[in-house]
Symmetry: C5
Amino acid sequence: MILGKVVGDVWSTKKKEEVNALRFLFVQPFGKNLTLKEELIVAADEIGAGIGETVIVTQGAPAMQAFKRDNLLPIDAVVIGIVDSMEMPE
Amino acid sequence: MILGKVVGDVWSTKKKEEVNALRFLFVQPFGKNLTLKEELIVAADEIGAGIGETVIVTQGAPAMQAFKRDNLLPIDAVVIGIVDSMEMPE
Amino acid sequence: MILGKVVGDVWSTKKKEEVNALRFLFVQPFGKNLTLKEELIVAADEIGAGIGETVIVTQGAPAMQAFKRDNLLPIDAVVIGIVDSMEMPE
Amino acid sequence: MILGKVVGDVWSTKKKEEVNALRFLFVQPFGKNLTLKEELIVAADEIGAGIGETVIVTQGAPAMQAFKRDNLLPIDAVVIGIVDSMEMPE
Amino acid sequence: MILGKVVGDVWSTKKKEEVNALRFLFVQPFGKNLTLKEELIVAADEIGAGIGETVIVTQGAPAMQAFKRDNLLPIDAVVIGIVDSMEMPE
């Protein structure tokens, strides 16, 4: 998984029907020393993460397992947790 | 998912039979601050995205779930939504 | 998918049995402005792409769907189309 | 797989229910000559890897196979081994 | 797939039980012009590749199909062939 900061929202009305109810967030991944990387991904969120929060994002095929639906959704990134604290001894 | 701008079309007549009816778009991904990255991917589109539009693209295994077919298609990138608006408070 | 140029062939006699009959090509991906990137991937080909041709390559789990076999093959990149023409208005 | 060094812990209380019992580690991948790369990933661990240890991390869809559960978990990186020794002749 | 050079071995005794019998190799991928990239991956090997040999490595979900086992293994990179010769006309 990657760790990222929620930095925005994306709205789309013309969407694949099966993802219509999902909320899409902009997430900026953290790199080494927990500095933000020059990247931007879009992740689905059903937990209710807010702007500025640090989240754990699962990518790829495993992201599909985060949704309780009859069929697998065409979603490749999803917020699976909101981070309370981190510890990096070194 | 990634956010990208539709920048072109790709035509191919000699194709794997199962993907024959699909439309292929050139999509240039957005990076941080929503500036376009020096990358170029090819995504299938069944929504009808036009040149210049900003789209949400799902990649990898989840992309296969976007097509209502009897068999899974060998497609690793698909447009799942056309973006209306974005908000990045910071 | 990515767009790439076929730049060579790879031969291997000591192979996993299930991929024995496949032809492996060197493909160099295109980046922005359709300039070749400093990368090199190996893709299986059943369409018959030739050196110098521009091809559409599917990667990851979806690549496995391109082969009509009883079992899924351990192949993560496959040529799904040979490109006739491209259009990038801007 | 990648080889990485365990450099920290990540705690999250608001999580997808199905991953609630998992421990999440910060892992910094090794690059060439076994120097640490400027990257940081989050991997689930059920082996009990400690800070400073070198681990083998499986990513993507195969990571889901590391968990003995009734359903596949939305986890894309997992520690599958703790490294005892490495040998690079050149 | 990628083409890489076998550059070392990785030993781990504390491992996920299902991957216990596997041999893990360090593989350094080739980039353009067949120069070695500044990367290092760990791939499972059942073919018997030796140090210094050039191999074809399958990554991601397709790597799981290379093992004849009752269950899928949490392995995301595997040697599927040892290269005899390569040809890059240009």
